[in-house]
Symmetry: C2
Amino acid sequence: MNGPAALASNKSRMLRSTTAEQIKRLILLRGLHPGDPIPTETELCEELGVSRSSVREAIRTLATLDIVEVRHGTGTVVGQMSLAPLVETLVFRGVLSPGDDLAALREVVDLRRSLDLALTDDVVKAHSGHEDEEIPRLVAAMQASAENGKAFLYEDRQFHTRLLAPLTNQLAGQLVAAFWDIHTAVLPRLDLALPADLRQTAKAHSDMYAAARSGNHEAYRKAVIDHYEPLLRMLNSRSDATRSQASRD
Amino acid sequence: MNGPAALASNKSRMLRSTTAEQIKRLILLRGLHPGDPIPTETELCEELGVSRSSVREAIRTLATLDIVEVRHGTGTVVGQMSLAPLVETLVFRGVLSPGDDLAALREVVDLRRSLDLALTDDVVKAHSGHEDEEIPRLVAAMQASAENGKAFLYEDRQFHTRLLAPLTNQLAGQLVAAFWDIHTAVLPRLDLALPADLRQTAKAHSDMYAAARSGNHEAYRKAVIDHYEPLLRMLNSRSDATRSQASRD
DNA sequence: CTTCATTTGTTCGTATGTATC
DNA sequence: CGATACATACGAACAAATGAA
């Protein structure tokens, strides 16, 4: 029990954290890209010299980070490396403490607003002159829904995605989309379907695109502020209500 | 075999993706906070009715997201829900394609700059009037290192952390810190230790804090731009070099 | 449509290292 | 130092999903 034992004791310290690292290194060495298949669990056991359980935990770790994507019955492929782990962490943080969730949610919304404002120049530059065929349709759908007092989550998400799609900085668009996901995942507990707010939000989307198309930076910034105004107003009033309710307990 | 069997077959479909969800729900139901211990693996096996391996994989998933923290030989506690998973994903994405890493890194640096600029009002408001006892010392240390041609990663990180610490929006500070981690993790392959750039960076830090203390918004923005200028200049020249080298191959 | 091989998903039993008392 | 509780790792076996023959 000399060789294997020594090997095992050496590995035992690092093995847990290094099996995932070895798989990452394997992806880098072979130059694999998102969608490319990686070796099966059995093959990884042989190549890395560890048990299947260890390989499975390493793969689970990487799958959580969207570095690989596991497909039952088929195999495992290199993942998209999206910001999904960020979303999951912050959503859980947002719903963790019922007395504090509004503060956490407001931080997310604040950051969304700051990011949208910070990207003003890039967005205006990308859309001034180029007509997007999809965005006007989305804006019309949102305004129609607002008139009927209906929400328009899908169109909202699509609007922001397409607005930021042409940016050079892909990461910025993904981050804004991630914050959108967090905010709409945490939001459902508040019903913010005031018709007037819906109309204002729909109009703000329309104004944002119109300003971007016409190259008007200042109008874009104003439209972004209007876009978040109903939401922030509600978050502030709700958090006051929560505070007074908490102090009553 | 009615109750348990039906329960087991129901679970079997969802079990894989829901064991982690059940643990999260357990944390929420019991109102646990970061640092509080969660049940041992054995207890979780009984409460959730799944095997030890499944519990372990679920815990590994949550540990990767920093929703729980595993302490060998002691137990598992609720984690800090930091942005560590975001860092790990983006670091790997940054080093994934050797020809493209500079583009990915530049996106991170661009976003850092946009965020710092977007937080101008909050930072100035938080520091105008209040003296921070640590920041001047960090600034002095950075300037001393710059004169000696030495890098000052530790002081740099501390500076940005403390600068954003007093903000109401904790998430913003954590996001900036996460981007700092990504950028310095991907960076080492470029050696950017030009003495002139070091001095400019050190001076920019000094200017940022001085502007924030004196409440000068415009000076703060200018200092932030100066702060990133050497890095962005290097990234642009390096990416040009990479492109011409790639076209040569 | 069925059969079959491949691959991942789940479980159990066992052994070992490690922290705490 | 010993005892206990816990996490870590391994291997074998069977279940479920997928895709191809």
